[in-house]
């Protein structure tokens, strides 16, 4: 596999302005994504993990420009896609695709699944019905569904099947990068395994890169080469998968790993007190300091930045010399 950087995100920010009061004054911003930088290589899977509200879904959508970035650059195959106009953006839509969490609401209930899968092809110029039909059949078979099911409607399928359809739809325009936003969270355990295996197979077959967004670390472990941990809009740690699980450096990562219920290990759990602070008003200094079990005095004042501590292992924490 080539080691080219397929996607490089630099200092990406997405703020949602909040207005209120009688005169609709600008009260502040919800800093959903607050300065995120990372890259994904060709054919690689980067896992992005974090809890609800940390901004991971927003990050995924901003990369696709389904949400417009407030600041920062996104470089895809050498081009800064934040600067593309509408026409050029359309071309991009063939290259980067997305799979959603909820198989129920991510398919148009009034379109047959054949139409849903073929829509991308239609939009990008394949108007010949027969050729489109063949491609749709091809996609269906690749994800393990029979061709004649193309005429059915989403409500006639189970969740697992609907997720496969969502994957087929994302694959149809032959993308290079797929953003998978919690693709298995809403599925049963045995179906989760099936879908993850499918994603692994497709990656091998199509040389796909994935940005796998999930809150379940064990899923990430299985499928990703590298893992990024997000908290309140920022990446707090990024490293190779094996490295993170053996040698988690950031206290939040430690807590996440210890929180996973496991049937094979009895472990000491690190319980995080309190709740995730509001992204409207993040704590000063290090955002995690209010809940950190290894907090230092400096954490209240200065915000740590991501630093490479060796081996491509990045961490943003004062404990590790920043």
């Amino acid at each position: 596999m080539l080691n080219h950087k397929l996607l490089e995100v630099e200092n990406l920010k997405k703020y949602y302005p909040v207005s209120g009061g009688l005169l609709y004054r600008h009260l502040g911003d919800v800093k959903a994504v607050d300065g995120v930088s990372f890259y994904i290589r060709d054919g690689e899977t980067l896992g992005l993990v974090g809890e609800s509200g940390c901004g991971k879904s927003t990050l995924g959508r901003t990369i696709l420009r389904l949400e417009e970035p407030t600041e920062g650059t996104i470089i895809y195959r050498g081009t800064d896609i934040t600067k593309l106009d509408r026409k050029e953006l359309r071309g991009l839509r063939k290259e980067i695709q997305i799979i959603f969490q909820d198989p129920q609401s991510s398919l148009d209930p009034r379109m047959t699944i054949g139409q849903s899968i073929g829509e991308a092809l239609l939009i990008h110029g394949l108007k010949d019905d027969r050729e489109r039909g063949r491609r749709v059949t091809d996609m269906l078979e690749r994800v393990g569904l029979e061709a004649q099911l193309a005429l059915r409607y989403p409500h006639e399928f189970s969740s697992g099947q609907r997720q496969r359809i969502g994957i087929a739809r994302a694959l149809a325009p032959s993308p290079r990068l797929i953003i998978a936003d919690e693709p298995v969270s809403a599925l049963d355990v045995s179906i989760q395994a099936q879908i993850l295996n499918l994603m692994l197979d497709l990656r091998r077959e199509f040389r796909l890169a994935y940005l796998l967004i999930a809150h379940d670390l064990s899923v990430i472990r299985q499928v990703s080469q590298r893992v990024a941990v997000m908290y309140l809009g920022k990446i707090v740690e990024l490293a190779e998968t094996g490295e993170i699980f053996i040698n988690a450096l950031h206290p939040y990562t430690e807590a996440l790993i210890s929180a996973i219920p496991s049937i094979r290990q009895r472990k000491i759990r690190i319980l995080l007190p309190g709740n995730v602070p509001s992204p409207l008003n993040p704590p000063p200094g290090c955002r995690f300091h209010t809940r950190c079990h290894r907090v230092l005095p400096i954490c209240h004042q200065a915000e740590p930045h991501l630093k490479d501590v060796g081996n491509g292992h990045l961490v943003a924490c004062h404990l590790h010399g920043v």
Partner: protein
């Protein structure tokens, strides 16, 4: 026009079906222009409205129903289980048959026949007092209904059954056309407003608010004053002022649809705003549109009946309202003239309401039908 040329053109507008519709619409426009400026009347105004509605219905109702046969079957199964809805549908079908074929078997509803005036319906008898100037006394004479005029006649001898049948036709036409216009307009404004949001939404909704307060009645009086009473105008006025409720409802539904993931998915695939609105949003509000339309028809029919009742109706056309108007003065003697249209209106409104409710339940995924 070569075959290739046609295919190319079709590709540009989004399919053969759109090409055909554009062709038909252009023909319609040209005919209308010719009618106004050049030639003698080709169609009357109502006719033009019909054809326009027909073209829109063809593209947005008939074609989707055909391509989505499976879905239609699925919903039909659900509707069938609601007995009241089925009864309502049966009644509406009966009305349609009555309106279409009835006139073949009954006399002209406007034909006055003074010799046979004030006849009661079949099976009833009335008494009439006749003054005999020679004897100076009143003689009561019983008149009974005949099968020649099964529902009786009014004070001008016009056959009531014929009038009711004509009225059925009018109510259905007005219901269909006026509702069609109102719903089409309301949907367009609602969907565009919700999808584009922001300033456009604001402007359109304020416009809707203004239209809501519009005194449609005054407008109608004004138009009648200038152009004379004409059914086409009534239809147009009801249609052009009655879209506001629909717009609001469709807008709120679209707002909630807009955030659904499949819309986001379509955007991610590269769909343009136009495509998202037409291919994704509209088909998903269709069920709501159908329910709104079905439940609006009774209101429209009653509006027309009310207008005719107070005399603003089209005198060339016999509608139920008009018959009510004729019959209301002599309710104590020739009661059948008022009762017949009253009963018809009652059942028609009920029928459409039942069907509308049945459709609403069938379309709601949460209700277990």
């Amino acid at each position: 026009m070569t075959k290739k040329g046609i295919k190319h053109l079709a590709g540009k507008v989004g399919g053969i079906k759109n090409l055909l519709i554009i062709l038909l619409a252009t023909l319609w426009g040209l005919t209308l222009l010719a009618d106004i400026f050049v030639v003698e009347k080709i169609f009357d105004p109502l006719g033009y409205l019909y054809i326009a509605l027909g073209i829109v219905a063809l593209r947005y109702v008939v074609w989707p129903l055909y391509t989505g046969r499976r879905l239609v079957q699925y919903y039909w199964q659900r509707v069938k289980r609601n007995r009241l809805a089925v009864l309502g549908l049966a009644f509406i079908l009966f009305l349609i048959l009555l309106a279409v074929f009835g006139p073949l078997f009954t006399p002209d509803p406007t034909a006055a026949n003074f010799e046979q005036k004030n006849l009661p319906p079949v099976g009833f008898t009335t008494e009439e007092s006749i003054y005999n100037p020679q004897t100076g006394q009143f003689i009561t004479k019983t008149i009974s209904g005949t099968w020649e005029h099964p529902l009786g006649t009014d004070n001008k001898g016009r056959d009531l059954l014929a009038m009711i049948i004509s009225g059925a036709g009018v109510s259905l036409q007005v219901g269909l056309l006026a509702t069609g216009i109102a719903v089409a307009l309301g949907t367009l404004i609602g969907v565009v407003s919700a999808y584009l949001g922001g300033k456009v939404d604001n402007i359109l909704m304020r416009f809707t608010d203004i239209m809501m307060t519009f005194p449609f009645f005054l407008l109608l009086v004004f138009i009648v004053f200038i152009f004379g009473p004409n059914l086409a105008f009534i239809v147009l006025v009801i249609g052009l002022t009655g879209w506001t409720g629909t717009a609001r409802l469709i807008r709120s539904e679209t707002l909630s649809l807009r955030t659904r993931e499949f819309i986001l998915a379509a955007k991610a695939l590269g769909a343009s705003d136009g495509r998202i609105i037409l291919a994704h949003l509209v088909p998903n509000v269709v069920s709501l549109i159908v329910v709104i339309a079905t439940l609006s028809i009774p209101g429209v029919i009653m509006a027309e009946a009310a207008l005719s009742f107070i005399g603003l109706g089209d005198p060339a056309v016999t509608s139920w309202g008009m018959v009510l108007r004729a019959g209301q003065q002599s309710l104590d003697t020739t009661w059948w003239v008022a009762v017949a249209p009253g009963i018809m209106l009652f059942f028609t409104v009920l029928a459409f309401n039942f069907v509308g409710d049945g459709l609403r339940d069938a379309f709601d995924p949460r209700s277990s039908v």
